[in-house]
């Protein structure tokens, strides 16, 4: 089966909006992905190698490990929100690139 080809032809090489979109989007994806992977993997790495710290109580009986794990959820939601805001700018560039 052949998948339908792009209707609007080949990508315009000289299209400034498109060049900007590709460069910005790739840079953003790379930075965000590396950031969240590093922050996320700190959790299993510390859960594996620094058990005393993870078991330290910070508020009442709530341990550092639980605070850290809940912070990961907050990080997930915040990074998703940042992405949504940034993606709206990409959407604008994408519309310009198609003109």
């Amino acid at each position: 089966m052949t998948v339908s080809r792009v209707q609007s032809g080949s990508p315009p090489r000289g299209n400034a909006a498109y060049q900007q979109l590709v460069a910005e989007r790739n840079r953003f994806t790379l930075i965000m992905s590396v950031t969240f992977l590093v922050l996320y993997f700190l959790l299993p790495i510390m859960a594996g190698y620094n058990k005393p710290l993870m078991a330290t109580k910070v508020f009442g009986n709530v341990t550092f490990g639980y605070v850290f794990a809940f912070a990961e959820f907050a990080m997930g939601w915040i990074m998703a929100a940042i992405y949504v805001v940034r993606a709206r700018q990409f959407d604008r560039l994408a519309r310009e690139a198609q003109l």
């Binding site: 498109y18 992905s33 859960a47 005393p52 341990t63 639980y66």
Partner: protein
């Protein structure tokens, strides 16, 4: 009472299915609901697809038995959606039509890739599905007090899910997911409120009670995962596997645009995140209010912790409230399994019909009516195979099957998706090597891991390892080796394939990138026909 509630839920979902069947007229309707699902609906359905029995029953049980280590699953499965959101959701929506293979073939211009992508989809779906079907079987047999054996319960679940998919297609499957996600969230919120009410609205008090009962170890890491590498390997598979799960990827084809795909993921992240945060409350409360002894007595793996917790929260065993709580949560768990299995079935049967039957056997020449008929037949076949494999695997540990599905998805599908999107020189040989190498490395490592190999003490008769010998590979999850191996195979294959004639490959990359980033030629029309 359990049966009455379960029957009510089944009746509602069957009603949805017959309603949807009137709107199913083409192959596109069947595969992806004609690409007309809204972003909000799709987000709830993604959450529904994801919050499977492994999440609801499994994680609650893992936390109840192992404390903090069980919560690591919740964090990993949630964070996985950042990978989906940042990298795969929007380009996939822009490039594909029905399946992952559409996107790979669009970029790599080689029909062989379609076959391998379809095989990978079917393998991952099968492992995931067997786990769900086996889980359903043990849940039903436990709750009927052994009246309904797993060998009866497994075919029952299989037949119901075949009806949902054959009759209602993707539209019914989506709505069954939405209803199920709403029921599951409702049950979880009610239980969490009751828990907080018991413990003075303080998570600290709850942890204090768990500590008093189990000792300080329970609040810290390391009860389940003694070897840090084991935990890291599992985390890798969880966080990278989701972006390669066929039934999740397929959900992006049910919405009209990339913007809707993005909104769906954000909706799913809100729901899934809230749900997984609450597992920390449910798991610890199950430990305190039900107790490890009673939980493992009902099911050694802890799968009954959530229903037993509901019983305790609503008044305890023998009271009307307690029995209602138990029945309600069990019925919700049953609906959960049915819905997830339906989602997996549609992914597997779409991949077979669209990619293998129409794409490879018929060279894209099969008509709408023919595809529709084959898709329904494939669903029945997939369902029967799932029932048979489920019956064979009924005494196996189901958690390892789910983790295996994630590991295969991360090792075979993710490297190929990433290279397709971002590597100009990537080619069809690389894709085939990546898929085959990823799957085989994963399966080989699992076969010699403690999941399969191990020496049981002679007095143990249940849960024996299939191979009685010391494991050759020490980790339960192969992710830390098999995921890099998948990338390596894909890269090596690309080098090997580069020696062949490969004209137009760079232009294909440019074209793909333009379409992936701008949505050119795809806005709202991608679900239309070729």
């Amino acid at each position: 009472m359990t049966f009455l509630l379960a029957a009510l839920i089944v009746a509602i979902t069957l009603g949805i299915t017959f309603w949807a069947s009137k709107r199913n007229t083409s192959a596109s309707d069947f595969y992806v609901a004609g690409g007309r699902i809204s972003a909000t609906q799709n987000g709830i359905a993604i959450a529904g697809d994801y919050m499977s029995a492994a999440s609801f029953l499994g994680i609650t049980g893992l936390i109840a038995l192992n404390g903090y280590d069980g919560f690591m699953y919740s964090v990993g499965w949630f964070i996985a959606y950042l990978t989906v959101l940042f990298i795969v959701a929007e380009p996939l929506r822009n490039l594909g039509k029905y399946t992952l293979a559409d996107m790979l073939v669009y970029r790599l211009r080689d029909p062989r890739v379609r076959t391998y992508a379809a095989i990978s989809t079917i393998v991952v779906s099968a492992f995931y599905m067997i786990a769900q079907v086996v889980g359903a079987g043990s849940l039903i047999s436990l709750l009927s007090g052994g009246v309904l054996k797993a060998s009866v319960a497994i075919p029952l679940v299989g037949v119901l899910m075949i009806i949902y998919v054959v009759v209602g297609g993707m539209l019914a499957t989506t709505w069954v997911q939405i209803v199920k996600a709403a029921l599951l969230m409702f049950a979880t919120v009610v239980m969490t409120v009751l828990i907080l009410n018991r413990f003075g609205w303080s998570f600290s008090n709850l942890l204090g009670a768990a500590e008093a009962k189990n000792g300080a170890d329970f609040l810290g890491a390391g009860l389940k995962y003694k070897n840090p590498i084991d935990l890291i390997s599992l985390s890798l598979a969880l966080v990278l596997g989701t972006a390669g799960l066929p039934h999740i990827l397929m959900r992006f084809y049910t919405v009209p645009t990339a913007q809707d795909a993005r909104k769906s993921v954000v909706w799913a992240m809100v729901l899934i995140g809230a749900f997984y945060v609450m597992t920390a409350f449910m798991g610890n409360a199950a430990n305190v209010l039900v107790g490890k002894g009673a939980i493992t007595e009902a099911n050694a793996a802890g799968n009954m912790a959530a229903p037993l917790l509901a019983q305790a929260l609503f008044g305890g065993a023998g009271t009307l409230g307690g029995e209602f709580g138990l029945a309600f949560v069990t019925a919700v768990a049953f609906a959960t399994i049915l819905a997830v299995v339906a989602g997996l079935t549609i992914a597997a049967s779409t991949s077979f019909t669209h990619d293998i039957y129409n794409g490879v056997i018929k060279h894209g020449q099969a008509g709408e009516a023919e595809q529709f008929r084959v898709a329904r037949l494939a669903t029945v076949a997939v369902g029967i195979i799932a029932i048979l494999l489920g019956l064979l695997a009924q005494s196996q540990n189901v958690a390892f099957l789910v983790a295996l599905a994630f590991a295969i998805a991360a090792s075979a599908n993710l490297p190929v998706i990433l290279f397709t999107l971002f590597w100009r020189r990537f080619n069809a040989t690389g894709a085939i090597w990546g898929i085959v190498g990823g799957i085989l490395t994963c399966l080989a490592l699992i076969a010699v891991s403690p999941n399969i190999m191990g020496i049981d003490p002679p007095e143990k008769t249940t849960g024996r390892h299939p191979i009685q010998a010391a494991p050759l590979f020490g980790l339960e999850n192969p992710g830390i080796i098999s995921i890099p191996a998948g990338f390596l195979f894909a890269a090596l294959g690309t080098m090997v394939g580069a020696s062949r004639r490969n004209e137009g490959a760079e232009q294909a990359f440019e074209e793909m990138q333009f379409r992936a980033y701008t949505g050119a030629g795809t806005d709202g029309t991608v679900a239309a026909h070729d």
